[in-house]
Symmetry: C2
Subunit: 360 residues, 2 copies
DNA sequence: TCAGTTCATGGAAGGGCTTCCATGAACAAA
DNA sequence: TTTGTTCATGGAAGCCCTTCCATGAACTGA
């Protein structure tokens, strides 16, 4: 009986972590001094620090990050919410964000959203428990209720590739980018230009449509609704996916002689699908149809897709910068940044004859 | 002077977080009772719980996650180390991992590795500070020193898509997959079959080569070194990239009449590059050259690439499962799992005439 | 009625750090 | 010598929880 009791003493072995007290005892100093040594603080004698550091490494002492975070009242962690299912765009963005944060010794939580209908659930989770010092939300359109929640959250929030009047945001200049892309086709001599777009419920889809309109109108060109395809959201990702592009292109191909000579396609993934449909129809790109996309996903360079390149790294850098700033001083004023995409000319627009490989 | 002192009183406002003490006071109970209420623990009267929960939500009380983690001596966080630059394979894997962890209310730290030469630095960071309960390492080959470090780390480690004798691991059956892929080509009647592979310093490259060998030998076919291309690692990612595939294919195309009638290409990204080279050379796939790849990256279905599909979701599920198990009971025995990839037949192998769209 | 049991409750201890205040040694200036 | 000043140091208090133990009310059965 008593043996049984002794057997299940609570400390089950693995909890033999070395603490700051162990180091202090071993070094014959106080815990405050050890803390100062570990944190490279002032008011400590160089010799003392050296001795403590040696003993610490001898004992294999690692400060407990959780205890530090509690005592410092700071988590050194940023949360990111990512619509993972969407497209590979986010991988790059995330990579850059992680790099930026790494430089400042911040850790990154990643929460993926795989269905729009559980988005708010994920948000609640991110907002709960104050585990992070800041939040980055990628490419998600918030409802008014959650925008409000985020605005009054204890931690600052920055939207990346999405915007909301009440929250800091960084977006690509979608309208302007679409305008540049469309004008590129116009300058190449095209007059009958169509567009494949995503669901107009999505913010980028609306802006890109607007840019397309402006370019066409500015050059006095006709906007024929027949050659405009807004993919619906049913296939997922607001219609910004390969399948939707493929189907939209098939519809356009059915127009036969009414087919436009050029297309602005609002997302590279859609362009990939559209190109598949065109190949199947035995038409040639750019000779029969010229194409300009938008995004410059990794794959675009492999298929020679002329497109609008999003400055992802810049976006990541600025978003992190802003977030860190908000974390330390909660600046007043709003912050709404627009970054210009850049035209990357490859083969599908017909401006060049030789294959162009744009290095990453 | 005194004013100056008063002005910079330490609490700068934002620290008005509600604590468990505030709730206890407001409810007229002890903090233990509030804790029990919040955690749905036993030994609390239903009425009391209800009252406390109401007051808590009224005060907008959120338990401090960091304090919980300290008190519970558990972080509820898993770290993942990902060679982000590599290819999009990881995005899916990560997505599944995050989903699995989300179900168990674990958070996920993501650390990206963008250069192999700072890999160990990242590892040190992950091992430091005991911020996590477990570690997942994706597709990275550890040196003996770090394998040892991880083995003796305070937290369990599982390798995913990589293996090491001393550590738990889950890998794809690369050898067997390569064998199946090659046999598929053999069954289609091909006799002169070549291979494009990555740098043999990488584990998957070696295994896939081995599977290729076995298939060929088993069917009494000749292994002509001239049609075997091991891309070197200079272009990055152990030669598993589009550019390397493109260049390797150009070398093969220079063989003219000695060109193989079929190719097993060890990574889909390489296959993409190879296909580009073939198109440029005005040859047809699969008529002039049949191709089977490996990985089934998202893009493969768009280009009709026949390939070996990696069971990523399964891999993620099992890895997380194993990690959680290790966290609670540190099982003895080793854990080395191999999952079989599955042949996905599309157009590039020539087995089918019609375009096949494999839905995601 | 009384000992025994169950269970809701309060609150101290503990988790491992940072930080602030007090102390006293060493040194400088008068 | 005395009075300051500077600075390394020790350690209590505090960060915000969970958990365990002690308490006493309520109930049970004899």
């Amino acid at each position: 009986m008593p043996q049984g009791k002794i057997a299940l003493n609570k400390k089950q072995g693995p909890d033999l972590a070395v603490t700051i007290y162990d180091v202090a005892r071993a070094a014959g100093v106080g815990i405050g001094t050890v803390s100062r040594a570990m944190n490279n603080a002032n008011h400590i004698h160089p010799d003392t620090r050296k001795r403590i550091m040696e003993i610490a490494s001898q004992l294999n002492y690692q400060p407990n990050g959780v205890a530090q975070r509690l005592a410092r009242r700071k988590t050194f962690t940023i949360a990111s919410v990512v619509p993972f299912f969407f497209n590979y765009f986010y991988l790059d963005l995330l990579k850059y964000i992680q790099n930026e944060l790494g430089h400042c010794h911040y850790d990154l939580f990643v929460y993926s959203i795989d269905r729009f209908d559980n988005m708010n659930q994920v948000f609640d989770r991110v907002l709960a428990e104050r585990k992070t010092d800041g939040i980055l939300i990628l490419s998600l359109e918030l409802g008014a209720d959650y925008a409000e929640k985020f605005r009054h959250a204890k931690v600052p929030v920055v939207l990346v590739d999405a915007t909301h009047a009440q929250l800091d945001s960084i977006v690509i200049a979608n309208r302007k980018g679409a305008l540049v892309a469309t004008e590129h086709l116009i300058h190449l001599g095209h007059r009958r230009i169509g567009m494949i777009n995503g669901d107009l419920n999505s913010f980028p889809a609306r802006s890109r449509l607007q840019g397309f309109h402006e370019a066409m109108q500015h050059h006095g060109l006709e906007l024929d609704p027949i050659v405009m395809r807004m993919c619906d959201a049913q296939t997922g990702a607001h219609g910004f996916n390969e399948q939707a592009g493929y189907l939209a292109m098939q519809e356009l191909l059915a127009l036969k002689s009414a087919l436009p000579t050029a297309l602005f396609i609002a997302a590279d993934v859609q362009a990939v699908g559209a190109m598949r449909a065109i190949h199947e129809a035995r038409l040639r790109i750019p000779d029969d149809i010229a194409i300009v996309g938008f995004d410059d996903i990794d794959f675009s360079k492999y298929i020679g897709l002329t497109t609008m390149k999003q400055p992802l790294q810049e976006m990541a850098r600025l978003a992190v910068q802003r977030l860190l700033l908000c974390m330390e001083c909660r600046p007043d004023g709003d912050f709404h940044l627009e970054l210009n995409p850049k035209l990357v000319v490859r083969q599908t627009c017909g401006a060049k004859k030789q294959p162009v490989i744009v290095s990453v």
